[in-house]
């Protein structure tokens, strides 16, 4: 059967494209990083971050640090996205970390493409001594795997 060029699908004139095609968005995966500094031992640090308005969905989340052993042994946090509590207070940081044995494409904790809403992310990080590490100031990085509208 031959393809017919009809009124709705003119091959040359792009301005006459159907509405559905015009509305197709260009989506781009982006990784966002937010840092939080832990300067004192056995303390809670709270910080709020904001995503761009163009972020359409959040696919995943990952925690890393400038001193991974500190984060692994001492850290726990509460994470809230758009006022929706994703991880409650006391959720251990080690459960959200991935080692180098994990493929880079699979390191993020799956959030299932949640909508960012207001795009405000709140993180309350708690440092607690467990006897295995000697405290030194360190940085906690929160990585978000997002889909952005270009």
């Amino acid at each position: 059967m031959r393809f017919k060029v009809g009124k709705n699908y003119p091959s040359s004139d792009s301005s006459a494209l159907p509405r559905k095609l015009k509305q197709t968005k260009m989506l781009k995966p982006v990784r966002k990083r937010f840092d939080l500094a832990v300067a004192a031992a056995n303390a809670t640090v709270s910080q709020t971050f904001e995503l761009e308005k163009t972020v359409m969905s959040i696919k995943g989340l990952l925690l890393t640090s400038s001193m991974d052993d500190m984060l692994y042994f001492r850290g726990s946090q509460r994470i809230e996205i758009n006022k929706d509590e994703i991880f409650p207070e006391g959720y251990e940081s080690k459960l959200l970390m991935s080692g180098i044995n994990v493929s880079p494409n699979k390191r993020y904790y799956d959030l299932g493409g949640m909508k960012p809403g207001s795009g405000i992310i709140k993180m309350d990080f708690t440092d607690a001594d467990d006897g295995r590490t000697v405290f030194a100031p360190y940085r906690v990085s929160l990585y978000l795997d997002c889909i952005m509208d270009e």
Partner: protein, 200 residues
């Protein structure tokens, strides 16, 4: 139907050798199903690392350190693999305790597990280890996942039992906290409907 995953945390504190703790976890009203259980250990006592690592690794010079500085209470460092060491020897994981969870409904005892702190064989057959870099939990650990369970969420309370084993093994009081994470599912559409009913 849009289902959303949520988690609740129960912290169980252990301070004595062979201690048994019974606890209850209150499940929210909107929980449809319990879908997974995860555990984590947080040490709270200074003596923990000395006992566990000092005795688990025969090569660790714990006695030498203790004799040289008996008054100084410092955590003994975990010995890393030595240069030229052939990393294919298995080491037994250290059992921390036993956990059991029970639903008040039909499922009854739906979860029973041995709780370990970490994988002692994380560096097995890893030849990247040097004097300055040794595979450890925070560099080589795989992504963690919860233990999947499928239990109806109609129960109001989950009964829990934790028995300390590591204190018994080393014949000393070791203090630590066991975090029990209960993952459950919530029906979001139902939540919205309920809200509409309350505030027309």
């Amino acid at each position: 139907m849009i289902m959303k995953e949520r988690v609740i945390i129960k912290q169980v504190s252990i301070t004595k050798r062979g201690e048994t703790q019974y606890f209850q976890i209150r499940l929210p009203r909107d929980a449809e199903h319990i879908i997974g259980i995860e555990t984590g250990i947080c040490r709270t006592g200074k003596g923990f690392s000395e006992y566990v690592h000092g005795r688990a690794y025969a090569a660790a010079p714990v006695a030498v350190i203790a004799a040289a500085a008996p008054a100084i209470k410092v955590p003994v460092p975990v010995p890393g693999p030595q240069a030229g060491h052939f990393p294919v020897g298995f080491r037994r994981n250290i059992l921390i305790g036993e956990l059991k969870l029970q639903s008040q409904e039909k499922a009854n005892v739906f979860f029973s597990d041995d709780v370990f702190e970490s994988d002692q064989n994380i560096g097995f057959a890893d030849y990247s280890a040097t004097r300055f870099f040794s595979p450890s939990q925070w560099t080589h650990e795989f992504k963690r996942f919860e233990e999947k369970v499928v239990v109806n969420g109609v129960t109001t309370l989950i009964g829990g039992y934790f028995k300390d084993r590591i204190g018994e093994r080393f014949k000393t009081n070791l203090s630590y906290t066991v975090n029990v994470y209960v993952w459950y599912e919530v029906n979001e559409e139902k939540e919205t409907k309920d809200d509409d009913r309350l505030c027309p």
